[in-house]
Symmetry: C2
Subunit: 202 residues, 2 copies
């Protein structure tokens, strides 16, 4: 019947892509940082990456998404970090470790991460989009908290929002004091904002 499946061998067939999401993101990020987010149109980004405007929107559903190309990897690290916590570990420690692990970057990516963070707090459109992306983080944190306090949904929600608030506070401070270590800042803000262990009462 119409042989829908390709034989085997690499699972390829059809026209090969002229580029990749990673390549386009790398070019676009550089251009966006150089010329400004709102001052750069998608047409310019596409031209810089050597693709058409229409193809750009196949790689990224939104102009802002090009700044979050590695977001899925971060989310996956966060998820793995939450799952890696042993039963003996305090949940606050588990969450803190997971956040720090998820947001860790290679030294050569530090400047890029800093620039991106600065975009969050200066360009409204980027910040707006970041909130939508980080909803996944929040949900993961909420699910994790629910496993600790399945009796108190408000507590779980608060934990989820606390994770985001701590992450944002650390990044905001970082943009003003770039010499600081983001990991240290995250550890401190999480310690400040994560609710304390539930008292043994009730």
């Amino acid at each position: 019947m119409t042989a829908p499946r390709r034989t085997a061998a690499g699972d390829r067939g059809g026209r090969p892509p002229v580029s990749s999401a990673h390549e386009v993101a790398a070019v676009a990020q550089r251009v966006l940082l150089e010329r400004g987010f709102d001052e750069t149109s998608v047409d310019e980004l596409a031209a810089a990456a050597g693709i058409s405007r229409r193809t750009f929107f196949r790689y990224f559903p939104t102009k802002a998404d090009v700044l979050f190309a590695d977001s899925p990897a971060e989310v996956e690290r966060f998820r793995a970090g939450l799952a890696a916590g042993g039963p003996a570990d305090s949940w606050r420690v588990v969450v803190t470790r997971a956040v720090m692990e998820a947001l860790r970057f290679a030294p050569e990516d530090r400047e890029w991460a800093l620039h991106r963070a600065q975009l969050f707090f200066t360009v409204p459109a980027v910040q707006a989009h970041a909130v939508r992306v980080w909803a996944t983080w929040r949900q993961l944190a909420v699910d994790h908290a629910r496993r600790v306090r399945h009796d108190d949904p408000l507590f779980s929600l608060a934990v989820g929002h606390a994770v985001l608030a701590a992450t944002l506070a650390a990044h905001e401070y970082w943009t003003r004091e770039p010499a600081a270590d983001l990991g240290d800042l995250l550890a401190r803000t999480l310690d400040l904002l994560l609710p304390p262990d539930p008292p043994s009462q009730r």
Copy 2:
């Protein structure tokens, strides 16, 4: 010269507005809730309010702004609440009171407030805009915290983000349990998320 100032008497002159921001907001909010945010165009909102599309954008800089018509009043209540705290009051109590005071609504506005909260967590465009509006809240909270701990800017930032996180968590819970009292929820989430009083160490 050219008599720039009108004589006196009510400070009026020129063509009178055909409507007001409050009237337009009331109509638009109803339509948006009935037909959905993304499914309603600005042309439809303008037509429903009896004004032109161009005039709509003079009343509100953005389609989403029509949902935040009373935001300035809330911000002002928040600011006043923060300033009203006596020196004997704990800063956590002051902040909690200020938030609850700012977000208090008349009983007849309860349903509208609930619907608006539901829009925050379902329509990405609204949530994105809310973040930008609430940056003012955060800044006020940060400034207030700085008066308590002027030595620790990271602490101040964390407080600011905690206020927003608690507000969001309370609203999110409220949208799922509309029978709950928003004030109670706010008090609980703020108690969970506001950092504890700085220990007397150092």
